[in-house]
């Protein structure tokens, strides 16, 4: 623990990188408090009698010779009830608490824990004196929010017999609720909260295969490029392509039990927007405010860069903690490029040998370490839980060949490539159907057959086929215009247009279009192809396609999503299609 007497002192300062001398070198990745202001920092390297510390706050005002207080312990976060609905900075300090202490601007040297240690929670105990417990076993439950029941677990490394358990009642996160007595007679207190070092993955019993998707209500994702629960996906895109909107949409509507939203080096207003909106918006399944299942981690682009590097580990540790309670957690990281740049900035100040684009050579291994913490697992107490990671990537200049995108691509199996030209045409979400992919699709197929419909794989293939045919037809159209194409090819272009404008495009800000239930997604696919089949038959008999287009049925199907969202029965649209086809057929009879 920290003391007031310390032999360590500041020797050198270069931005957030502090060189410390005064005793034997400090353990790597251990926590230190730097200077009279006790700024929070971590040891990043040691050599001889010198340790290098990165601090998580602005170093202005520090002098050489000021004392440094080592703790010899790794950077940890206190996990327990009170996280849900909160907003924390990159090293897990509650920002609303900081606002109360320091006002509208974030000041330095505020060392407070993530949890409110005075609040009393109503606790129901699950264990009694004499019970044997093992690591990861829930021993008490609390109602953390309207949507999340908090299951406090025995720390993973602990097992033994319960002694001195309290009864149900109101307790704070630091009061001992029981003691675990090990075989050797050591007694360890159990509290509602536990400390966990953020850079260490939390243990689980085993990984399970990924067999169900994260249902997002976003048509292009659910039907074309699904991500499995416990999987990982990347959203690369240039600025303005809509990465953040996609992340927000997934955070709002996906069927995860919990969302950890990590704003890493992004705009302050975006975090404010999430806070404001998620308090208002209701979860479509439970009808509760979305904030009741959301935890926000904010390191906005003007907050200290070293804390940005730590923020993704803070977010991941929280996500794993709720996974261990048996929840399906989705972690949105926006944006991992900012994290990688923070890594680069620190690496540069440490004067390490740079690799590609001056990113450090360990970038791929750090990225792998992050994405591999995703997974669908059997927890230590035999519950199923998952962490799905969705990382936004902001490639420099929108160029996907840069190191962060390239290395990310190696560790994710789902890639939603956002496209600047689609964004310019305000085609949102601007997920390019030619360059995106999902390797999860085949694993998820049995689930889709069961829940979307037996005919889903076939419909999906035909939709993709039509889009591909359109892409190649467009090459011709660009040269000679669409007028000269034969009617069956024109039909492909018309249908593909309905697929693009009507189905793939989804207006995140439209009350009824922001989210679509799977049944309606299937209805749309069926109807579009139903029209296509009917139209092809007409065209085959020599009836000009123009006549069918003039009925306005293609435009109607493009706008069908709004109607379905408002609750119109798909059968009505089917009737419209049949009527249009019939009308044209009769006119030519």
């Amino acid at each position: 623990m920290e003391t007031n007497n310390t032999p360590y002192y500041i020797y050198g300062i270069n931005g957030p990188v502090i060189r410390v001398r005064g005793g034997r070198s400090l353990p790597r990745m251990s926590l230190v408090y730097v200077g009279e202001q006790r700024l929070f920092g971590e040891v990043v390297s040691s050599a001889g009698d010198e340790s290098v510390v990165q601090i998580y706050e602005d170093s202005g005002g520090l002098s050489s010779g000021e004392p440094v207080f080592p703790t010899m312990e790794p950077m940890s976060i206190r996990l327990g009830p009170g996280l849900v609905g909160g907003i924390f900075d990159g090293i897990g300090r509650p920002l609303s608490q900081i606002e109360r202490l320091a006002g509208d601007f974030i000041s330095k040297g505020i060392n407070i824990g993530a949890l409110d240690e005075e609040k009393k929670w109503s606790v129901r105990m699950l264990v009694h004196d004499g019970d044997t417990v093992h690591g990861g076993q829930p021993f008490a439950v609390t109602e953390e929010s309207g949507m999340v029941e908090h299951r406090s677990m025995v720390p993973p490394t602990l097992s033994g017999t319960i002694r001195d358990a309290v009864g149900d009642g109101n307790y704070t996160v630091v009061e001992p609720l029981a003691y675990v007595e090990s075989e050797r007679g050591e007694r360890t207190p159990l509290t509602l909260s536990q400390l966990w070092p953020v850079r260490t993955p939390r243990p689980f019993s085993r990984r399970l295969p990924i067999d169900r998707p994260l249902v997002t209500g976003q048509r292009v994702i659910d039907t074309l490029f699904p991500v499995g629960k416990g999987g990982s996906a990347a959203i690369p895109g240039p600025f303005g392509a809509g990465k953040t909107v996609v992340q927000h949409q997934l955070a709002k509507w996906s069927d995860a039990d919990m969302i950890v939203y990590l704003g890493c080096g992004e705009r302050g207003n975006e975090m404010t927007q999430v806070l404001d909106e998620f308090r208002e918006l209701r979860d479509p399944r439970s009808g509760r405010p979305l904030m009741e299942r959301t935890i926000l981690i904010a390191n906005t682009s003007n907050m200290p860069v070293a804390a940005r590097e730590a923020s993704i580990y803070t977010g991941m540790t929280i996500a794993e903690y709720y996974r261990d309670m048996g929840y399906h957690v989705a972690l949105m990281a926006d944006s991992t490029s900012r994290w990688a740049e923070a890594l680069r900035e620190i690496s540069g100040r440490l004067e390490e040998m740079p690799a590609e684009e001056s990113f450090p050579a360990y970038l791929p291994s750090r990225l792998a370490g992050f994405y591999e913490r995703a997974g669908y697992v059997d927890t230590l107490s035999d519950m199923e839980g998952s962490v799905t990671v969705i990382g936004a990537v902001s490639p420099q200049g929108g160029d996907f060949s840069e190191p962060v995108t390239q290395n990310t691509q190696r560790f994710v199996r789902c890639f939603w490539a956002l496209d600047r030209s689609l964004a310019y045409a305000r085609h949102f979400p601007s997920i390019n159907w030619n360059t995106s992919y999902s390797e999860y699709y085949n694993d998820l197929l049995p689930w889709y057959r069961k829940n979307f419909g037996e005919d889903f794989p076939e419909l999906r293939e035909r939709i993709i086929g039509l889009l591909n045919e359109e892409t190649s037809l467009n090459e011709i159209v660009k040269l000679i215009g669409s007028d000269v194409l034969p009617d069956d090819q024109k039909l492909i272009i018309e249908t593909a247009r309905v697929i693009r404008e009507g189905f793939l495009q989804q207006n995140a800000f439209h009350e009824h279009d922001t989210y679509m239930v799977p049944a309606n997604q299937m209805a749309m696919l069926r109807l579009i192809l139903h029209l296509y089949d009917g139209a092809r038959q007409l065209v085959g008999t020599g009836i000009p396609l123009r006549q069918l287009v003039e009925t306005g049925i293609f435009a109607d199907l493009e706008r069908m999503k709004f109607g379905l969202g408002e609750g119109t029965d798909p059968a009505e649209f089917e009737k419209q299609v049949d009527d249009a086809l019939e009308q044209v057929r009769r006119a030519n009879a």
Binding site: N14, Q396, G397
Partner: protein, 461 residues
């Protein structure tokens, strides 16, 4: 009394190093006395044991190793603040250069302002109308937003910025009088600064303008400090004095180049195109100072101007800027060559906050629909145009011909407008619908039938 150190260990670019120095703080300010008695200022940027490296704001030419005195002032760089700032002109380090003497300082503040707590922020939602159709309709400016102008050398970005300053007003509020301008020039030419000064004077805005000027010939360290001084002043006026502040910063490209020069003189490992790897964080520390705070009446709206080197939007400067700012107004050389003013390229321009500050309850109900449909329809025009260059206009289908017509009308009647012609929002939106009515109704798939019934005036299909 503080010690004065005599002599330097090293001079390199705009940096000087001293040995055997004790007890100075990172970021501390220092006063440097030259042999001839003239004074300069510097700031601590590196401490390595007893060796201290300083950046010298005014540059190091004329400094010699032996007869230079350095005195550390024991405080970081601050700028004097009070309402007297209004109407005054300062250099990049916040010293008055208009000959009117120092201002009376209510307080002095560190120019590296701390970050606004995201919890304290208020989400910006009041639309600022600029009276410019292309901006109001499709790329609306919101109070508290940071919206840069991406331009190219020779395009009319200065004229556009001046016009926005002249015409900008917020709908439905009566606090126009509280609107002030902070103008920050970084490395621009004297005539550009003069242009702005003249324009502010003509529109009567000079009395409510604060100017921080760092000209092309001024030292680069001052160029790096200038926006920080300007933003500290802006924050003070907004959050302590309740003004609505519009900060015009020009030219961010020169600022970034100064940053690069400074970084290379420090011997840092360069990143893309030689710019330092922390340029993103550095730019963010400026741009993120825009915003609104809960319970405070004022606001800081940021309009940085940058010229894209070689009109390349993927160049690191526009690229990193675009990742931080809430959208961008992109000027197009094509339009400028067609004689369109302001040459706002509608498709690459974007206002991220627009969706929450326009439409029902904010501007006019049909505003978002119109904007959406204009984008979608205008994006079809380029396809028709490139086809026309291949097969000739006559061979185009009826649909493509209509798109061609729509595109031309949009550029010449909607985007194009006079430098002194403010258009009301109604004029802009109605004009937008009239132009969309050139197209067949079935082409307008972004809008619901209800909206079309109310606004579509065309006849075809």
């Amino acid at each position: 009394m503080r010690i004065e150190y005599t002599g330097l260990a090293e001079i390199n670019g705009s940096l000087i190093a001293l040995d055997d120095v004790e007890g100075v703080a990172y970021d501390e300010l220092a006063e440097i006395t030259l042999r001839d008695g003239s004074r300069r200022h510097g700031r601590v940027i590196l401490i390595d044991g007893k060796r201290v490296v300083l950046e010298v704001f005014e540059g190091t030419s004329g400094i010699d190793l032996k007869e230079t005195g350095t005195r550390f002032l024991g405080k970081p760089m601050t700028v004097a603040l009070s309402e007297e700032l209004l109407g005054r002109v300062f250099d990049g380090t916040g010293r008055p250069i208009d000959g009117l003497g120092e201002i009376y300082a209510e307080e002095r503040r560190d120019i590296n302002g701390p970050a606004i707590n995201p919890v304290s922020r208020e989400y910006p939602q009041s639309c600022i109308l600029t009276g410019i159709s292309s901006i109001d309709a499709t790329c609306s400016l919101i109070r508290g937003q940071k919206l840069p102008i991406f331009s190219g050398a020779g395009l009319a970005h200065n004229e556009l910025a001046a016009q926005i300053v002249r015409q900008a007003h917020v709908i439905g509020t009566g606090d126009e009088a509280k609107f002030v301008i902070v103008f920050c020039a970084m490395g621009i030419k004297n005539d550009t600064a003069d242009f702005f000064r003249r324009d502010f004077a003509e529109s009567g805005a000079l009395g409510r303008t604060v100017m921080f000027l760092n000209m092309a010939s001024d030292p680069i360290i001052e160029r790096i400090l200038a926006p920080r001084c300007a933003l500290t002043a802006a924050e003070y006026l907004a959050f302590d004095r309740g003004y609505h502040v519009l900060v015009v910063m020009t030219d961010m490209t020169f600022y970034c180049e100064a940053l690069r020069e400074f970084s290379s003189s420090k011997g840092e490992i360069p990143s893309r195109k030689g710019y330092p790897s922390y340029m993103y964080s550095d730019l963010a520390s400026l741009y993120e100072r825009a915003g609104l705070i809960h319970g405070k009446p004022g606001s800081v709206t940021l309009m940085p101007i940058l010229t894209m080197p070689g009109d390349d939007i993927s160049h690191p400067i526009p690229d990193l800027t675009g990742y931080i700012t809430e959208g961008q107004i992109v000027l197009s050389r094509d339009l400028a060559q067609k004689g369109v003013y302001p040459p706002v390229g509608i498709l690459p321009s974007l206002s991220r906050l627009m969706k929450d500050g326009t439409g029902k309850g904010f501007t006019r109900d049909d505003h978002p629909d119109l904007s959406n449909q204009l984008f979608a329809s205008y994006s079809e025009v380029s396809g028709a145009r490139s086809l026309a260059t291949v097969i000739g206009e006559d061979e185009l289908s009826q649909r493509d011909k209509l798109y061609l017509k729509f595109g031309n009308e949009l550029e010449h009647r909607f985007i194009n407008q006079g430098m002194y012609e403010p258009r009301s929002l109604d004029e802009t939106l109605d004009l937008g619908w009239r132009l969309l009515s050139i197209l067949p109704r079935s082409e307008l798939s972004r809008v619901s039938d209800k909206v079309l019934d109310a606004h579509y005036t065309g006849t075809a299909g």
